[in-house]
Every structure is written in structure tokens, then in C-alpha cells.
Symmetry: C2
Subunit: 251 residues, 2 copies
């Protein structure tokens, strides 16, 4: 994947620890508060040292400023993601997929916590590639990364300017696009989801955009009961992805 220009931040013990464990090569620098007393922070500093990552002690107030009001627990890491690409990386990433491709397209998830939860879910479901439109989507902010629990640093993620063109390319490559919508289509459980598939989830309020929706080959709906009109997007993503995996495992 292509390198991004400026380093991003991982904030707090859990985020830094996940990256150290799973993607240490992305870490450029670790900032630790001089006042740090938490043994877990000391452990991470030792791990970082052993991995050859530069560790700098700073005042807690400097970390406060860098963390911009987020709880940093005396540790922040600067990193350069090597798992984030753009449209031009699409073919290369798909060529490397050895199993039946499973792609997740998030068309306009705007809440960073929801985005992170979707990524965490995608990783747990073995998704090969996540596609986000550059406009109208939450970014991979520290909040999103924290909510992703490490998935944002390991999943192949493409941030694309022209989502429609990317969806057409997926179709050219034999990947069927399954949209999701409250309004219907065939039920999730009545559809054959065992082939190469791109699952397209809409954003929190409005769902998929019109053009995105038109490009989908079929629609899935989750059979709803109760009085609530919709599911949280990360929950709906999990239900769909794990149903795909269930079908594939029993196919």
C-alpha cells in the first residue's frame, strides 16, 4: 500500500498496545509522560525498545495537547500506516486474495466509533478489503482506531475518491455487490452469499447513496422485529458478514 504523508496518532494503552503487537513496523515514535506510573505503560515502553522503536519522555501536559482532549493514559504513538491505499491499489490487493473474496464497502458511515466498530467486525469476519469513500465518511481518526481495537492497523483499507468507479471495477472482476436496505429486497437468509461478494453498507441516517444503490446486483434485508426501525450499522454489518461466513462454511 502507499504511504501517507504525515504520521497519525494512536492514543492510549489499548491502541498503542494493539499496534505494537500487530503492526510494529508502522510505529515511528512513542511519547510517554514523564509522570507515567502505570506498569502497563512501562511494559509497552520496554516492548517498543526491544522492537527498535524510538521512545521519548515528555511532560504529561504535552501529551494532553497532542491527544486533544482524548484520554491518553500517558502514552501516545506516532505511526505511518502502510495498510491504507487508494483506488490504484484495488487490483493489487484483490490479486493477493487467495480465498473467495469478501469485500466490505462502507458508503458514508459518519460516526468514527461506528466506523471503528465496523472495522473490528470486518477483521473478525476475515474481510479481505474495506473500501471507504473519501468524502462523506468518518476518517481513521484516533477515536475510530481505538474503537477498531487494532483492526484499523491491519486490515487492507482503500479510501477512494470515486466510489462508483471502484464498485464497477469490483463487478468487472466478478465480485457481486450486495446492498443492504431497510426497504427490502430478498431476505438475508434467502440469498446465496457463497460467491465472490462485496457487502455494501449505507451510512447511519440515509443508508446507501442512490448511485451506490443502483450499482448493487441485489439487496439484502435483515428481518426485523420489535419497534425499533433500524440496527446500528456495525451490528448490521456483523450480522451480514457472519451470515456470509456461515453459508460459506456450510456450502
Amino acid at each position: 500500500m502507499s504511504r501517507k504523508a504525515s504520521p497519525s496518532l494512536l492514543i492510549g494503552i489499548h491502541s498503542v498496545g494493539s499496534a505494537l503487537a500487530r503492526a510494529p513496523g508502522q510505529l515511528r515514535l512513542i511519547l510517554v509522560a514523564q509522570e507515567a506510573r502505570n506498569p502497563r505503560v512501562r511494559e509497552l515502553v520496554e516492548q517498543a525498545g526491544a522492537a527498535g522503536i524510538r521512545v521519548v519522555s515528555e511532560s504529561r501536559s504535552l501529551l494532553d495537547r497532542r491527544a486533544n482532549e482524548q484520554r491518553h493514559q500517558d502514552i501516545i504513538a506516532e505511526f505511518e500506516a502502510n495498510n491504507i491505499g487508494s483506488e490504484k491499489d484495488l487490483d493489487r490487493v484483490l490479486d493477493a486474495v487467495e480465498s473467495t473474496p469478501l469485500v466490505l464497502v462502507l458508503d458514508g458511515v459518519q460516526d468514527p466509533q461506528n466506523l471503528g466498530a465496523c472495522l473490528r467486525t470486518a477483521d473478525a469476519a476475515g474481510v479481505n478489503l474495506v473500501i471507504l469513500p473519501k468524502d462523506g465518511s468518518a476518517g481513521l481518526t484516533p477515536v475510530a482506531r481505538r474503537s477498531a481495537s487494532g483492526a484499523a492497523e491491519v486490515l487492507d483499507i482503500l479510501i477512494v475518491t470515486n466510489l462508483a468507479r471502484v464498485l464497477r471495477r469490483l463487478k468487472e472482476r466478478g465480485i457481486w455487490l450486495a446492498g443492504t436496505a431497510d426497504d427490502a429486497g430478498s431476505g438475508l437468509y434467502g440469498s446465496d452469499l457463497t460467491g465472490p461478494l462485496g457487502l455494501v453498507m449505507g451510512g447511519e441516517g440515509k443508508g446507501m447513496r442512490r448511485l451506490t444503490s443502483e450499482l448493487c446486483d441485489f439487496r439484502l434485508s435483515i428481518p426485523m422485529q420489535g419497534t425499533v426501525s433500524s440496527l446500528n450499522v456495525s451490528v448490521a454489518t456483523g450480522i451480514c458478514l457472519f451470515e456470509i461466513n456461515r453459508q460459506r462454511a456450510s456450502a
Copy 2:
């Protein structure tokens, strides 16, 4: 269900609107900012008036104080929940269930947003009853209610002091308890989930407590791929509940 002593708050357009639509009988009073200009707020005020609910105009700064830093969008409602009970309501609620019972037990979900998302998911899955331990669980705070998108006002919810005793009572009533754990048991998809069932989800970090775990009749595990070690509790809840529904619909 028994009435709680002091009124709780619903904060913001979405929370107040959901309750007005689904549980207007619980609303005692609506506070609107004198400065309110949003037509959606005016609509809610009209709806409330038509439903005979008292509406009081106050300064925005008073609403700021009542909302305690949460974004209130110029509207707050006081309500008395009539869907929240305790252990003594268990038999009555179960007696009223006409279908095969589906109970959700959340053993120590501590983040209010996660609790809310679990409730929203439970409602969408047609859960008959949600059981929360009084200690070690997030409360039904305004944040939890907002995240539940209306489900917290309509679901039957029991907040119990002695969870083990309640679980034993469920078993006496022929409801099997299915625990969830990362460490194993039979897979989610290999278990027969079509009978009367209580799904027991653990909290975010530690999972189910030991005693809770020992009371479960069997364990379910969600087959995980990728590098992330767990799913968000509301996502895991959704995957399990909708798999239960899928099995029941095809049984």
C-alpha cells in the same frame, strides 16, 4: 412493571421523538428552550400537546444544566419508565410471552453506549425480556437511552440484585441458558437454538462472571478470523440473536 421513584430524562430530538412515538404514556413533562427554532422541535411540541403531555418553555441555559453537557437540541423530556422491573416481575413477564421465550442477559456491560446498542439490537431481534444485574452494569442513563434509539423505553427490562437466583429461576421455567465465551464450547452454528433460550453475554473486558458462567447449560462461540481478539458486545449480541431467529424461522 413497577414504577421507579424519580423521573428520568430523555435528551434531544431523537430520544424524545422515539418515546413520544412509542411510549407516550411514560412522558411526564417536556422542557423546550425558548430559543428553539428547529421545526422538528416544534413538531414534537405539537405532538406532545395533542397527547396531553405538559410542555414548559425554559431558557436554553436551564436545559444546558439539566442535560449536563449532553447535546439537547433544545428539547428534554422527563419520564417515568413503566417497562423497568425487578426480580419479582420475572414470572409475570414470562407468563405473558406467547412465543418461544427469548431472553437476553447482559452480565456486566459497562459502557452505556454498548448497553444501548445491545438494547436496540435486542428489540430488533424480538427479545421478550432483557435482564441486567444491578451492580457492575451500566445504568439506563440518557447516553444509554440515546444509543438504544427508543428500545430502552419499550423493551421489558429487569434490573436484578441477585443474577444467579434469576438465572436459576429461568432454568426452572425450562429456559436453557446459552453463555458466550471466546474460549470455546460448541460453535454458534452447530448448536440447536430453537427452544426456549436465555442468551447470556458477558461484559466488555472480562466476559461473564464465574458464577454466571457455571449456570449456563452450554456455551456458544462465534467463529473468529483475522487478528482482533473479540467483537464489540453489541455486535456479538446481534450475531447470536439473529442466528437464533434464523434457526427458529427455518425450524
